[in-house]
Every structure is written in C-alpha cells, then in structure tokens.
Symmetry: C2
Subunit: 338 residues, 2 copies
DNA sequence: AAAGGCTATACATACGTATTCAGCGGTCTA
DNA sequence: TAGACCGCTGAATACGTATGTATAGCCTTT
C-alpha cells in the first residue's frame, strides 16, 4: 500500500503552503478562489484524503457518532429489534453526508453505564436505541448529561423525558390502526401490549387506541387488554389468556408486530381464520410482509427516522440546539385485516 | 465535558515519564511489573483512555475494520440480507475484544469501486458482505489486492476465488436438508433457487442436494428445479411454474428462506397444506421461526460466522496469514417438514 | 506621498501518542 | 578491579493537520 499523500504533497504540487491547502479544503473563505481551484485539482490528482487521525487530533474531536444498541438478553445471543437494524443503513448514509463516521456498539442492558461513558469520549455524540425505561436508565442519562455529552434517543417522546428524543407518532399510529379496524366494522377490538412500565411507546399506542374507540362511541373494555412484551411467545400467550377470559372479540390490535404474529399463530392453532378475526400490528418489521396472511401494520419510516436522528444529533453537536421530533406514521394495509 | 486526561497526567500521578506510561499500557515487557502496576492504578483512577487519534496518527494505522454491505437495489431503499445484519452485533463484539473499531458502509452494487478504495485507506482491513458474483466484482477485488489491502469475503469459497473467504458449508447444508426430507419418506423433492451465475452459494447447495439424492439412488430431475432469487416473490413464482409444469412433488428444498416462505404462501393459496408438502429453507432468518408453519431450515451460526470473519481478517493484518475457513451448518427442524 | 486598512498567504506551533536512542545503576566475567 | 552487559527509564522526536499570528502586497485616504 503506497504511502498516502499528505497536505504537504498537495501544497508542493499546487505551489502553495500546507496551511493554505488545509484552509482551501475546509472551505475557509480566506483563500482566494483561484488558489482553491489549484489546490482542489492537485488533491484530486493525488487522490488525497484528509488523514482523520491527524485532523481529529488537531481539532480535538472525532467526527464520529456512536450508535448504542441496547438489546434484550435472550437465551442464545442477543436479539436486536429488527426496526433498529433497519435504521442502520440509512443512518450510515446520512452520517456520510455530513462527513461523520458511525461507530456501532451493542450493549447488554445489564452492563454498567461505564460503556456509555467511554463511548462519550470516543464520539462527538451518541444515539441511544432500545432505551425504553427498562431498568434504571435515568441515572445513566443523568450521568451523560453531567458529562456534557450530546445524545439523542429513539423512543417515546412524552413527559418526564431526559435529553432530546426522536420518535414516531405512536399515539396517532394507535389511533389510525384502531380506526381502520372500526371502519372494517369491528367493534370488539382487543389490545395486546404491556401498559405501564417497560415500553413507553406502548402507552402512547394505547392512548391512540382509546381515543379512536371513544371517537366511535365505544368505551375501552379492560377485559380486552392483555399485557405482552414484544415477542412471539408473549403474543401467543396473550391470545390464549384472551380466549380464557371468554370475552368476545372480532379484531386485535397488537402494539408490536412480533406479538401480532404470535397472536395470529395462536388463533390459527385454535382454528380461527385470521382475516376473520382481523389483526393489526405495529412497526412493519420485514417478517410482517412474510407472515401468512401478510400483516396489516403501522409502518415507521426507517429512513426518515434514521435521518431525523442523525440530523438532530448533529444539530445538537454543531449548533447546540436540541429539538425533539415526532415523525408521522403510515398504516400499511395487508390481508390480515380483511 | 471536562478535559480528557493524557498520558502525561498519568505519568505525573504515577511518578514516571510519559513514555513509560505508553509502554506500560501497551504491554511492553521493558517495563517492570512494579511500575506497570502503579501506572495501571493511576490510569484507572483518572479513567484514562488512550486517545485513538493520537495513537493512530503515531502508529500510522487506524485500528479500524470496515464492513461493506452490498445491498441489492430495490424499489424503496435498500434491502439488506437479514443474515448479514445478524452478523453485525457479534462482529462488533469480537472487534472490541481485539481493540479494533468497526466502521460500517453500505454500498450500492452499482457504485464505483472508488468506495472500496477509500475505505481501504480509512481502515486496516475490509470485510465484504453480499459480494456474490453479481456484476463485475473481479476487477474491483483485483484493485484491492493491487492496493495491498487486507480483506475477507463472506460467501462461497469455491474455485477461482480472489482473496480470502469465510463461508459456511453450503454443500453439506444442501445435503443435510435433502437427506432430512428423504428420511421423512419424500422422494420427489423440488429445488428452488437460481443455479449458474448470480448466487455462488446456491450452486453449492444444489450440489449437496444432488449428492443426497444420488446417495438415495434417485436421479435429480431437471423438471423439479426452478430458478429463484432470494425473494418472497421469486419463491412464489417458482412454485407457480412448478405447478404449471405438472411434475409431481412431495417436498421443496429452497436455497433461501425468503424463497421458501414465498413458496409456502403460494402452496397455501392453492389449497395445499404445508406439512403435507414438506418445505425446507436455508439461512434461518428471523422470519423463519415466525412463518406459519415455522420453517425447517439450515441454520448458519451468525456468531461463529462473525467471529471467523474478524479472526481471519485480523490474522491477515497482523500476521499476514490468509486461510480460508468453512463453518459447519446445522439443520433446524420445525413444523414445515412434518 | 505616507499612513492605514485590507487581502491572501506563509510561518510556527500544538494536539497526544509511540518509538528510537541515550543514560544510569547494578551484576557478571576475566 | 575494570570492562562488558543487562534491565529499566527518561529525553527527544515524528506522525499530519488546523489555526493563531505575522508578513507581504495592494489599494485607499488625506
């Protein structure tokens, strides 16, 4: 691998000094256009790329963003939320647009906050994914704030939140999904998803569900709500307890796709056809379109989410402004809701 | 954000000079154990972390590996093979063990090789994922070799390959899947997957399929083989043409899970039950266990694959040895194969 | 015409680390 | 006992860039 050209090589070729090269390439207005053009030509010719190490050392920054995935412990290896994985590609692209690199970390929820801490020194900013209110996350966020670190979370915006948040409009998604079912003539719509602690987004989806019902003159029935974490097994179990309760229902709105799929399986196992009992999920994970029947669900636009996260974080770093953002959602109707 | 401590701060605290700190932390044997202990204690106390920029600048290396995902162009955004995504977490962990960072890039297959080129200067080594023999990849690999870059590919090992490859035992996987179906008493097993150009792994899976059939005294029937790319639509279409041909079959081995799921859907649509016609896939993507019925498939161990990739690449970088590796596969039997 | 202001560039330096070389005390050998 | 040698540490320096400060040239102003 031949030696990389340095800014001195460019300077020599362009007939200027090294500092001028640096300024020309960084868009410093003190450099005349004629000079800049010569420098750019020379840089192009030698395939010159700024040395990130040297540049970062000098500027005292890394031009790197860290993404922290918090995965739930599972028996064999960690299972990452598919939605978060789908953010990865678009995030990388957006970062590249800004000239930032993306550093990926996977964290066990159980591990120490030390890791956040370390990442806060390696990167100019942090993106927190999968950071519900599992565990005692507050002290960790407070620590980050105390360190002066820039960070953005994906999740429920909501009330007593710490730091900046980007989220999708969970409440509206819940409303749209439920309204869709109502429009199909369903009246007894069950809700599958844990309310209260654990998954803040679920609370908002639940609120949207209730609002839609009330708008149709229906009072939410507590008999039709079952706790379920986002997992296939929980979705299955939720449906079973629903049947046990004996409360009649003609549709299901699950707060997560995987639980919705679990519920569909359980339904089919007891011989109930699925477009017959309509099912709607939330997330639009890849498996949603592969299930049978394909799952109607609330789609979160991964690219928009990724770009919003990056944009927000970089704004926080470079301009210092911190504005929460809520992204729109879209109902994707497939066969599971008739 | 308070100023990061430097090696000078550690030196002062430990009562030694800065070079000694550097040596102590990098495990240089010239440092006495007593001194090293003092240095480590001081470093711990101040939460000292080596400045990557400075270190990289001095050593002329980045201690970074680049992962290049090559995604297939799809109408809306790029769809990444779920298996590759599942490699990500384990790869990051393994890298961290070695003290390397992981830089992620997503590439359009159509884009210039310049990107590889650039990445080859930003990273000490490159991992190529999704680099089938789509397009004209040979010249690009040759360019990388010419640059003296270290890289490892995931894919089919095979014959005229360029560079080092880590792969799973596709041939054995095809053999195991087919043997499993034979043991279930199936005799007319269709193969769904494109043979020839495009997906080198598929050829190996096909070879395993043929070997298993021949071992059972069955001659592979060309009527029972249908081309299909790894997509749900192609799997569906493949099954339709299979039915059109009128060749009877009692089982299906698909060279990819997504095609297998597509085929199952098509089967169910024409009223054929799936454990009745047995279906086996390949990959064990997350959706495989969520399909209905859950899909029997050949599991590639993502963690083993990730670690093999990293280990191989780092060996190439640090020791200069390049050994191809083939990882074992495992048949995961679920309900789709009765 | 001399002083002042402005523009475009060069000079010098600092960022934090790793490494080469030199030095210092002590042990071993002849 | 002198010289060679070894184990450990410190001084000096280089990596490539970005930036504060100085300087040279030119134009304006009175």
């Amino acid at each position: 691998m031949q030696r990389r050209p340095t800014s001195f090589d460019i300077a020599a070729l362009a007939g200027v000094s090294q500092p001028t090269v640096s300024r020309a390439l960084s868009g410093n207005p003190a450099v005349s256009e004629a000079t800049r053009a010569r420098v750019l030509a020379a840089a192009q010719e030698l395939h010159y790329k700024v040395n990130k190490n040297a540049s970062g050392l000098r500027r005292q920054q890394s031009r790197t963003l860290a993404v922290l995935f918090f995965d739930e412990q599972s028996p064999e290896g960690a299972v990452i939320n598919p939605f978060y994985l789908s953010l990865l590609g678009p995030m990388v692209r957006r970062c590249a647009d800004y000239g930032y690199d993306l550093l990926i970390s996977f964290q066990q929820l159980s591990s120490d906050w030390h890791v956040d801490y370390e990442d806060s020194r390696k990167a100019d900013g942090i993106i927190l994914l999968g950071y519900g209110d599992y565990l005692d996350y507050r002290p960790r966020l407070e620590k980050l704030i105390e360190l002066g670190a820039h960070f953005v979370r994906w999740g429920s915006g909501g009330d007593g939140q710490l730091g900046t948040t980007v989220s999708c409009d969970n409440e509206q998604g819940g409303f749209d999904a439920t309204t869709h079912l109502l429009q199909q003539g369903r009246r007894k719509i069950a809700f599958i998803g844990t309310i209260g602690a654990g998954y803040p987004e679920f609370n908002e989806r639940w609120r949207g569900y209730c609002r839609a019902l009330r708008a149709a003159g229906i009072v939410p029935d507590d008999q039709l709500r079952i706790d379920a974490a986002p997992s296939e097994a929980d979705g299955r179990a939720a449906l079973d307890s629903l049947l046990e309760r004996g409360a009649g229902f003609d549709a299901i709105f699950a707060a997560s796709d995987v639980a919705a799929i679990g519920a569909m399986h359980a339904l089919q196992q007891v011989g109930r056809s699925v477009p017959d009992i309509a099912v709607v999920g939330f997330d639009d994970i890849p498996a949603a379109s592969l299930s049978s029947p394909p799952l109607t669900t609330v789609t979160q636009d991964a690219r928009a989410a990724a770009e919003a996260l990056i944009d927000t974080l970089i704004a926080a770093i470079e301009v210092g402004e911190c504005v929460d953002r809520v992204l729109p959602v879209r109902l994707t109707v497939r066969d599971s809701s008739g």
